[in-house]
Structures are given as C-alpha cells and as structure tokens.
Symmetry: C2
Subunit: 242 residues, 2 copies
DNA sequence: TGAAGTTGTCTATTATCATAGACAACTTCG
DNA sequence: CGAAGTTGTCTATGATAATAGACAACTTCA
C-alpha cells in the first residue's frame, strides 16, 4: 500500500507497522527473546516497503523494545521492569504501573524452623516454627523473580494455603488482619542463577540475577516476614530514589 | 511547533488538530451550530500554521462535522441523525447506534377523547377515552423530535405517570405486559415548525419539520398507540431500506 | 569453505507535511 | 460605504514519508 492509494489518514505507515509489532509483543505473540520475522517478511505481511519496516523497527529499537542483530535477525528485548525501592513496596502496584499484569504463583509452601539468622530478622528464637513460601512473580507472562518468604507459623498459621488462594503477600497479610506494612533495610547483591531458579525464571544457565534480602514490618516495627528474592537481572532495574 | 522541533511521532500535526477539535465537538465544548474560533486563533492555540489548521478543518468538513462559510466563519454542523424506518423502530436503539445518548422528556400527559380518525387508527369507537402524551426526544442534548402519542385509557390506565417515570415508550408498554410491538404504515409529510414546537425543539421559527404519523401494533396486529411526531428536518435523515 | 539469509547503508524519486507570505472574495457591523 | 475580520487560493520552500534498487557486512548452517 502506498500513501497515494488511499485517502491520507494523518498517521504514518511506519507508525501503523510499529504499532502492529508492539501489539504482537504486548499480547505475547512475540515473546521476550523471540526472533521477529525478517524485514522482508514483515514488509510483505503489511504490504509496505522494507525501508518502511526498518523505520518502524528503528522506532521500536529506540524505545528498547527490540534489538537488531546484523546478519542474524531482530529480537524482542526483554523490557526491564522499573522497580522502585521504597519503604512501601508492592509488586502488584509496581507492575501495574507499567501497564502490565502482575501475577503470583505458588511453587511450594513447607514448614521450616528458624535458623539463627532468620530468627534474628523475625524477632523469634532460633528453632521457632516457620512457614516457608516459595513463589514466582510474573509481569504478564514473563517471570520476574523467585522469592522465598518466611513467616512465623505461630503468627500466620496456614499461611501457605492462604497464599495459594490469594497469590498475593499483601492479601495474605490482610487475611491475618495486617492492614499495612513497610519494608525495612533492603540488601541487594548479585549472583549467577542456579539450575532450579533458572528453570523457574525461564532463564538460560549462567545468567546474572539480583539477590534481594528484606524484612517487612508492621507500622509498629514488629517483623512480619523476611524474604530472599532472586530477580532475573535482564528483566528488572531497581530504582533508588535520591 | 514544526515537525523538525520534536522527534517525529508518526502522526501528522493536522491530525492532532482535527482530533482536538472533534473532541471539542463531542464533549459539547462546541455545540451544533456554534461558530468555531477563527483559523488564526486555532493556529495560535495549537501553535501551528494556519494552513495546518485548514487541513484539519478540511478533514472535518469532508466528514460533515463542520461547515466553512467564507467571510463569516466555520460552524459546527448539526450532524443529522440517520433514522432508519423499519417495522421495528426504537428511538433509543437508533440514537445509541450512532454513539449518542438517547433521552426522553415528558411535556405533559392529559386525558383526551378519540376523534373519528384516532378511533379508526386505534380500533376504538369515536369518543373513547384516551391518554395523550406530549414528549420530546433528544440525542445527547439536542432535541430531535416532539411527538404526541395517544393510547387507549382503558388499556393503559395511568400511562402518563408511567411514561414520566420510564421516559421510554418501549418501557411503558413493557409495564403493561407488551413485550414486543411493530410499526404499521408510516406516513411522512413536511411542514414549517409552529411557535410551540419551535420552542420545544430549540429551533428558529420558519424551519422545516418532518411530520410522521404512525400506529404501532402488537404482534397479533392489535393497535397499541398512534403517534404524531414532528422532527427537526435539519437534525434527522430518514432511511428507507430498499 | 561457500551458499543462503539476515541486517546495514547508500542513492534516487515521488508524494505528503508543515511552514511562510500575499492577496482575493466574502461577511459583518458601524 | 468602508473598515475589520473571515475563509479561499495561489506560489514557494524545506523536511518527512514511502517507494525502489543495489550492494556491503555479517551470521548461520551444511
């Protein structure tokens, strides 16, 4: 289609192509890491010149949605989730603010006992009974992080079942009457993904991860839960406000 | 603003201006018949060249939303409501299909007696008691027609109060157990608006009106109501399917 | 190594977009 | 009538948009 064929709409052709591809990425037709069809193939499907396709891809590349590799193809970039680190941190709100659908998925919930470290974080005695919740959090269909959460089994009996039903830590706490909570000091390190987390995060082995340890408190400062999270480094970007 | 100043968005400037003006019409900032600001003034508010404004106005004029009058100004066209005449005619559905909000407004409901003509239409005897409902129908804020409806006072006791509450003939009939109804023969003539209807339709004196007489029947063919409607000719266009 | 397929870059052409200025044609109002 | 204000039309210029073709540079895979 040339612009001469039809009454001009005031919207550039390359923009229509770019929007079409972006829609394909947003609805999962092209997943992160996928190779897009070749420029010639895209040009044929949209009935436009290859240069028009290149204009569209350039616009998407500038926004970081795709990345072209000469001789190989154009790939969907895993768009990094901007993850502000504040005292009030809610995964669902952060993901939702980016226009994506937050999801939580329970891997397993088991009973555990507090090590000295966990006991210190949670204000309990070593050996105290705990609930350990292993969960994945996703934005749309993309796994963002795996997290291990420990809660006092005495304070939150049956927490595993509640999380399985609600798929949200915030709602879990609400279930036990905790209206609000704040994050204490957050420790961030980096590492290499292990085989277990690699499978859970749908990551190739050897990829870097961000490791975050944090303990959440209620508004009086009483520890509620302590968390050990592993984020796929290529899918997230922590923002610390100055 | 020139296209060179900013990163190109793929949307033509004239399109942004046209969309802005159309939004102004849609949300009532510019009502039907209103004079738009001068081309120079629009150009200043959008920070574009006058020719760009003219391109936008031309696009709107082609769609029939505005009409330019040389030497005077550019005016918002009263978009004529497409009113298909079928056996199943529902004002609210017709208006809703055009993306506008249908409204009904009771002027008065009085008792009346059947003339010979009304009696014939409704299958009653001359002098039979009737309810006469005078109502205005609007699309968004624009009056479309004034109609006088007669129903048998025996079959529909208290019809005036019911219409005042429901503001819809269809719902009025539902209230009396009539699930569905059809329109019989429809007679269309034209005339000049009188002073009373001019005020009700918010029309200047001397404007043409379309006069429609029709009788609605239930599915067995029994007459339900007969109607005498006066449509503002400049606001409606009847469509008869071939 | 070589062929096939991919993206990157170059030149060239035509139409559209947006700007600018000038003036004509027309309406409105004092 | 005449001035002011409005839309209509003309020419002109430069930047974008979209097309087309050719070839280079690179990757992949047999």
């Amino acid at each position: 289609m040339s612009m001469q064929d039809t009454a001009s709409s005031g919207v550039a052709l390359w923009r229509l192509v770019a929007d079409g591809i972006e829609r394909g990425i947003a609805d999962g037709r092209f997943a992160a890491g996928d190779k897009l069809p070749g420029e010639m193939e895209i040009a044929e499907t949209y009935r436009v010149n290859r240069h028009t396709v290149r204009r569209a891809l350039a616009a998407l590349a500038e926004r970081g949605l795709v990345r072209a590799e000469r001789g190989s193809g154009t790939y969907v970039e895993a768009q990094k989730l901007a993850y502000p680190l504040r005292s009030r941190t809610r995964f669902s709100e952060i993901v939702g603010a980016g226009g994506r659908e937050p999801r939580g998925q329970l891997i397993e919930a088991t009973d555990d006992v507090a090590t000295r470290e966990l006991a210190r974080e949670l204000g309990l005695k070593a050996g105290a009974p705990l609930v350990r919740i292993e969960a994945i959090r996703l934005a749309d269909r993309t796994p963002i992080c795996v997290s291990t959460t420990w809660l006092s089994a005495d304070l939150f009996p049956g927490a595993g079942a509640v999380f399985a039903a609600t798929r949200s830590m915030t709602k879990l706490l609400e279930h036990y009457g905790v209206r609000d909570y704040r994050r204490g000091a957050t420790r961030i390190t980096a590492g290499i993904v292990d085989a277990t987390d690699a499978a859970r995060l749908d990551l190739p082995l050897g990829r870097p991860i961000l490791v975050v340890d944090a303990t959440d408190h209620d508004l009086e400062g009483k520890p509620l839960m302590t968390k050990h999270s592993r984020f796929a480094a290529e899918r997230v970007e922590f923002l610390v406000e100055s």
